[in-house]
């Protein structure tokens, strides 16, 4: 909805989860609103706020959280030229593709791969410089960003238990046509509470071949020494295949392996799902995850969701 110089939009995502051996629940996973202003060269504000994790039903009635209000993004874009933009404020860190475009109606699965958020700062509050390449697609777009201190309006621990400071990073993205791309990411920072520093590298790619969309990301990170002398190397990778059987019905297969730092407990998960997209703004999904290892973050079980863009 356009209101003067501002575009109001957002999305909602209703999720039903039934993890094996744990209570089932029905939750408003996200109810997100974004406001996008385009006023002049200097003033182009963007705000995204959301209600996250509001339980509507919980098996056994153990947890009826009303959800949390979270400031996801709040920044202003200064257009230095047609191809260069200075961004000031809180942004999504450009590590891979999924973290930048994680809205439920725009991603293929309900269960978010650990690789796309677990081992780095998902947000950066500070300065960012974005460059868009010429139109040929040969040279990459790039973005560098710096968060000198803590996250602006830190998310509650119930939403994200890990917070970071002193974050610096860069991302290169090559676009091939409208739908295919490949990227490289770098990020370094410090985790609050533990004081551990990390250095992360990543790559991502997306390729559409006829009815098949392949999308994958991989990260590797080295962390400063664990207090108890545990594992300092963290890494992960996933590949998801999305096959469009008809204009509306999709079949989805995903495989992910993730090794967190500080523990030997690995996550090795397989996902099988279907999605129904009656129009570009509505997606129904049903999926089953099979966890082969000991990870509690991605348990085996069923999930179903309805996501709507507005």
């Amino acid at each position: 909805m356009q209101v003067g110089d501002f575009l109001l939009s957002g999305y909602g995502n209703l999720v039903a989860e039934a993890p094996n051996g744990q209570p089932a629940r029905l939750v408003v996973d996200d109810l997100s609103l974004y406001v996008n202003g385009s006023i002049n060269r200097w003033l182009n504000p963007f705000l995204e706020a959301e209600i996250s994790g509001a339980n509507l039903l919980h098996e056994g009635g153990a947890d009826n959280s009303a959800g949390r209000l979270v400031l996801e993004r709040f920044y202003d874009d200064v257009h230095l030229s047609e191809t260069n933009t200075l961004r000031l404020g809180k942004i999504l860190s450009p590590v891979g593709d999924w973290n930048l475009i994680h809205a439920a109606p725009l991603v293929p699965t309900i269960t978010r791969p650990l690789t796309t958020y677990r081992g780095f700062a998902e947000y950066a509050s500070g300065l960012s410089w974005l460059h868009e390449s010429d139109y040929s697609g040969v040279s990459p777009d790039w973005q560098i960003y710096w968060q000198p201190d803590k996250e602006l309006v830190q998310r509650p621990d119930s939403v994200s238990p890990r917070h970071h400071r002193d974050v610096f990073g860069a991302h290169l993205n090559w676009s091939f046509g409208m739908l295919d791309n490949a990227g490289l990411s770098y990020q370094q920072g410090e985790q609050l509470v533990t004081g551990q520093r990390y250095t992360l590298g990543g790559l991502n790619a997306r390729k559409v071949v006829g009815r098949l969309t392949l999308q994958g990301e991989a990260t590797t990170a080295y962390w400063s020494a664990e207090p108890a002398g545990g594992r300092s190397h963290e890494w992960g990778a996933f590949l998801v295949a999305d096959y469009r059987f008809t204009p509306y019905w999709h079949g989805i297969v995903e495989r992910e392996v993730y090794q967190p730092h500080g523990t030997d407990a690995q996550s090795r998960s397989n996902l099988l799902g279907v999605a129904y997209k009656p129009n570009p703004a509505v997606v129904w999904k049903l999926e089953y995850v099979h966890q082969q290892d000991r990870s509690r973050e991605v348990p085996s079980g069923w999930s179903a969701s309805c996501a709507v863009l507005f």
């Binding site: 575009l7 996008n36 920044y75 930048l100 725009l106 139109y135 409208m178 129009n279 570009p280």
Partner: protein, 138 residues
């Protein structure tokens, strides 16, 4: 076999004969007299955002269910309407403003006529007084 071949050819020609072309139209303050197909693609990819006189480009789409939108998606990008809608939805989530949607050719012409920097597309048989034609798509 020969009859079957002729039938297929006739059906193919009939399909093209039934499909009208599209006119790419722009506001009178746009300095360009014509644009290339590549420039048009970059405008609708929101990669090219200003005209040569620094006027902001305001691209306009027809609604997703329209025949003109389907033709435009296939003729310019060789993609389906759904695939392009996904692309624009992703851009919107990244803080970029996707093309404005108008629900008829008359609305597109009215919008383009009144908004400096606006560019849109209409069926080539539609009335388009007060706007300039930058490109013909056939």
């Amino acid at each position: 076999m020969r009859s079957l071949f002729l039938l297929v050819c006739c059906l193919g020609l009939a399909r093209f004969a039934l499909a009208d072309g599209l006119l790419v139209i722009a506001n009178g303050k746009v300095p360009e007299a014509q644009i290339s197909l590549e420039e048009l693609m970059n405008i609708y990819r929101i990669r090219k955002v200003t005209w040569s006189n620094a006027l902001a480009i305001v691209p306009v789409n027809r609604e997703a269910s329209s025949r003109e939108r389907q033709q435009f998606s296939e003729m310019v990008f060789d993609r389906s309407t759904m695939e392009l809608a996904d692309y624009w939805n992703r851009l919107r989530f990244q803080g970029k403003i996707p093309p404005v949607v108008q629900n008829s050719d008359q609305s597109v012409v009215g919008f383009v006529r009144n908004i400096p920097g606006a560019i849109g597309y209409i069926n080539d048989t539609s009335e388009h007084a007060g706007v300039k034609v930058l490109l013909r798509l056939e």
